[in-house]
């Protein structure tokens, strides 16, 4: 009877709405090196995540255990640590609130991009992921270009309406930081920090999935003083 009660409880928690918050934060120094931070906050969905983890399978697919997720996350970190040009990789995992914070230093933008692409490719079952060909970061010392591959647009076409509604409730924040002031930027949705050293764009995962251009931005910096 206890199991029936628990099962009923678990199944009904799926009626809950949930949302995700992502912060994508990149700081570039004048020499092109920098720090990349990626934060995923699922604390407002913790009941749902706990419910799912209590199940063996969902929609015909096996639900991994918490230990398996931890192993997978650790493997990602370990692989990233081994990539050239990447150092000081830290991964904070909060399994009470389901907040994950990845942080690493990079010697240049290409090293960061290559490292992430390689790890994603290694972790993926899919071979030759076309979206990984995309260059989402560029830096020439004077300006920085950011964009998002169309991968997510294709994926969200497979989503159910409820999932789309949940994506709309989420937040996606993209921050670019610099050592010298920003002179101007292309994206009208972006805002500049008061100290003029950071540019932020806020959107939600659904808008981002439908229009990758929403994060597309070229940020021009003030000339480097000798």
């Amino acid at each position: 009877m206890k199991n029936v009660f628990y099962l009923l409880f678990i199944s009904l928690t799926f009626t809950l709405s949930s949302c995700i918050e992502i912060i994508d934060d990149i700081a570039i120094k004048n020499d092109g090196s920098g720090t990349f931070k990626y934060t995923v906050n699922l604390s407002s969905s913790k009941i749902k995540i706990n419910s799912i983890l209590a199940l063996d399978s969902l929609e015909g697919r096996r639900v991994p255990s918490l230990e398996e997720i931890q192993q997978k996350v650790a493997a990602f970190k370990s692989k990233l640590e081994g990539k050239p040009g990447i150092s000081n990789v830290t991964l904070e995992e909060n399994y009470n609130e389901y907040i994950f914070k990845l942080k690493c230093d990079f010697t240049n933008i290409s090293a960061l991009q290559n490292a992430l692409k390689e790890v994603i490719q290694e972790e993926s079952k899919e071979k030759n992921i076309a979206e990984l060909e995309h260059t989402w970061l560029s830096w020439d010392g004077q300006k920085m270009g950011r964009s998002v591959p169309e991968f997510t647009i294709k994926k969200t076409k497979e989503f159910k309406q409820e999932e789309i509604d949940r994506l709309k409730e989420g937040n996606y924040t993209s921050i670019s930081r610099f050592e010298r002031p920003v002179e101007k930027f292309d994206n009208p949705s972006a805002v500049l920090s008061s100290n003029k050293l950071a540019v932020m764009i806020k959107t939600n995962p659904f808008v981002l999935s439908q229009n990758a251009d929403v994060l597309e931005n070229t940020i021009y910096l003030s000339p480097l003083k000798n």
Partner: protein, 625 residues
């Protein structure tokens, strides 16, 4: 005068002959149910005539479960055709059956034939095979067999159990001097592991390695899997022959093998259900260990389950669907059930069930009486077993029986309980938000209050020793600050999914678990005027050991959509907006049987209950696929 006499005699003779022929045709006409093999353990029999009086065939074939039946019947080779074109006689019953024995599994259905030519227009994948049985036509397709006798047919699939196939294959394989076949392809354990996150198709190169024989292999010698396939085919034919000999020559079928099934078939309900639990138990995979290690004990347990059968009737009314199920059992098991279910209803539970609950149940048993009777019935069986392990267990049970304070145990947990589902409510929880500094866009974590929807459940147990759980709660509160005594109730913070509190009430002879803050804080002595109405309370009290209620309209709104795909959700959506209630009642339990009655009463725009039932069946079918 003579002529008149002769005429009269001739008329009388003709009349008598006609009556004899008519009676003979009734008595000896082949009926579809006569082709159900005795190996069938579960049968659902539909009285088509009654059903189809209410449902048009064109509507019937639109249902997804009928599409599947058609696929099974027609093997997908006659797209666009319907049951209507199939030559099936809807005046005969359609009997769907399944059974699993020690040697083989059978599944299929039997039905009447109205027009054989039409039948084979759609059964075009079946080829006639020479029949070894007189008066019987035999047809076969890749998987299925179609057997026609008179105007009835049996569509059957016989599959030997994998244990039998593997045992025979292994025996032949090793007798030929072969090595362990599972090392052949060089797959180590790690590679065979199920992928944790995704299923994927094998690489083309992997597939090749399975199919292409190695250079050292003898092309005339079968590999293990080919051998197993051959063994399976041979066994399949042998078991089909065994089944057919019994059914068609010895004329043993389920109707004459089990009188209870024969009796059930005489019911004039729209459908009948039969499940022989005793045979189900014998064939349960989990009992093989018992059967092997403790054969005497296994035989005794089988004996205990003798006569255990479920017999059901499905009855359609204009505004309700009724499902009556009779659970029959042998005298020994019956004596335990009778004692267990002979319990006084605990009326305290009624005040904790809100009249607006979406669903609730009451369960009324006496665990003490059940324990004592089970001890009387089961212990002699265990004591007779001459096995060290069993003897040790018997001694342990006997010592526990002597030393344990059964009064304290069974007064704490008496066995009766109730449960409610109070719908979805907002509960207070917390979440982490990031707040940004406008100067630098640096961000910090901040815990904020949040609200989340949560299903609200209550589960309560009758107890005469509330002091015992109170001792446990007091102890737990000393161990962790998450356990708090709030006077009228206890609260365990973040107990549910690490996010929501669980409340415990220990009052009025009940120990209640709930995540309903309103119940704990405002109604610790019950709902008062908001509790169940007298009429509803009376129904619950009058029912046997169990009573259940679901407000279908409210429950369907709370269906967990995430569990189903888009197509399944369409069916659920179609059910939304229709009102109805399900009531489950039980009879008094006797040594012989307990009767369960599930009535689904509804209001809605449906033409008749048959259509409503088919919508329901279709929903269940789609969901369970």
């Amino acid at each position: 005068m003579l002529n008149l006499k002769a005429l009269n005699f001739s008329f009388v003779r003709s009349a008598v002959l006609f009556i004899i022929l008519f009676v003979s045709s009734i008595s000896f006409a082949q009926r579809s149910e006569d082709l159900i093999p005795k190996d069938a353990v579960t049968v659902f029999s539909i009285n088509n005539f009654t059903l189809l009086q209410k449902i048009s065939l064109d509507d019937l074939v639109k249902y997804e479960f009928m599409e599947e039946v058609q696929q099974e019947l027609f093997d997908g080779s006659t797209s666009g055709k319907t049951m209507k074109d199939s030559g099936i006689d809807f005046d005969q019953k359609l009997n769907v059956f399944y059974g699993k024995g020690d040697e083989y599994e059978v599944s299929g259905f039997t039905f009447g034939i109205k027009n054989k030519a039409d039948l084979f227009q759609v059964f075009d994948d079946f080829e006639q095979i020479e029949s070894p049985y007189e008066g019987v036509e035999f047809y076969g397709s890749y998987f299925n067999n179609l057997i026609i006798k008179g105007n009835s047919a049996l569509l059957i699939r016989v599959e030997p159990t994998m244990e039998k196939v593997d045992a025979a294959t292994d025996s032949i394989w090793y007798a030929r001097g072969n090595e362990n076949p599972f090392d052949t392809y060089g797959l180590d354990e790690e590679e065979n592991k199920e992928d944790v996150f995704e299923e994927e198709m094998p690489e083309e190169s992997d597939i090749d390695s399975y199919n292409v024989p190695s250079l050292g292999e003898d092309p005339n010698q079968k590999n293990y899997y080919e051998l197993r396939d051959s063994v399976q085919v041979v066994m399949q034919a042998a078991f089909l022959d065994k089944l057919c000999t019994e059914l068609l020559i010895r004329k043993v079928n389920l109707v004459n093998y089990d009188n209870r099934f024969a009796q059930q078939l005489t019911h004039e309900s729209e459908g009948i259900f039969y499940l022989d639990n005793s045979r189900s138990l014998q064939n349960a995979q989990g009992l093989w260990y018992f059967e092997t290690m403790f054969p005497t004990l296994y035989e005794d347990i089988k004996e205990l389950y003798t006569g255990n059968v479920m017999l059901g009737d499905l009855i359609l009314h204009e505004s309700s669907v009724e499902f009556k199920m009779e659970a029959r059992y042998g005298p020994e098991l019956g004596s335990i059930y009778e004692k267990m279910n002979d319990s006084k209803f605990d009326k305290h539970v009624l005040k904790y069930i809100n009249k607006n609950n979406t669903a609730y149940f009451t369960y009324n048993v006496d665990m003490r009486e059940a324990y004592e009777q089970a001890y009387k019935v089961i212990m002699p069986i265990l004591t007779d077993e001459k096995n060290v392990q069993i003897s040790t267990n018997v001694l342990t049970i006997e010592l526990l029986n002597e030393f344990i304070n059964k009064d304290a145990l069974f007064n704490t947990y008496k066995g009766s309980m109730f449960g409610t589902f109070n719908g979805i409510k907002k509960i207070k929880t917390t979440k982490i938000e990031f707040s940004y500094d406008e100067e630098t866009f640096e961000y910090i974590e901040k815990e904020v209050e949040a609200e989340e929807d949560l299903p609200i459940f209550t589960l309560g147990f009758t107890t005469d020793r509330g002091d015992i759980p109170e001792k446990v709660l007091n102890h737990l509160s000393r161990l962790t600050s998450r356990f708090k005594n709030k006077g009228n109730y206890w609260v365990y913070e973040d107990a549910i999914l690490e996010a929501a509190p669980l409340y415990m009430l220990n009052k009025n002879g009940l120990f209640i678990f709930t995540n309903d803050e309103d119940l704990a804080v405002n109604h610790s002595d019950g709902y008062g005027a908001e509790a169940l109405s007298r009429t509803e309370a009376k129904k619950s009290k009058k029912s046997g050991f169990m009573y259940g209620y679901i407000d279908w309209a409210k429950a369907i709104e709370k269906f967990p959509r995430d569990f189903f795909d888009e197509r399944e959700n369409e069916i659920i959506d179609a059910m939304r907006g229709k009102t109805g209630a399900m009531h489950l009642t039980t009879s008094e339990t006797t040594k012989e049987k307990t009767t369960f009655e599930l009535i689904y009463s509804f209001e809605g725009s449906y033409e008749n209950s048959g259509k409503y039932l088919l919508d329901l069946l279709n929903s269940i079918y789609v969901m369970s696929k």
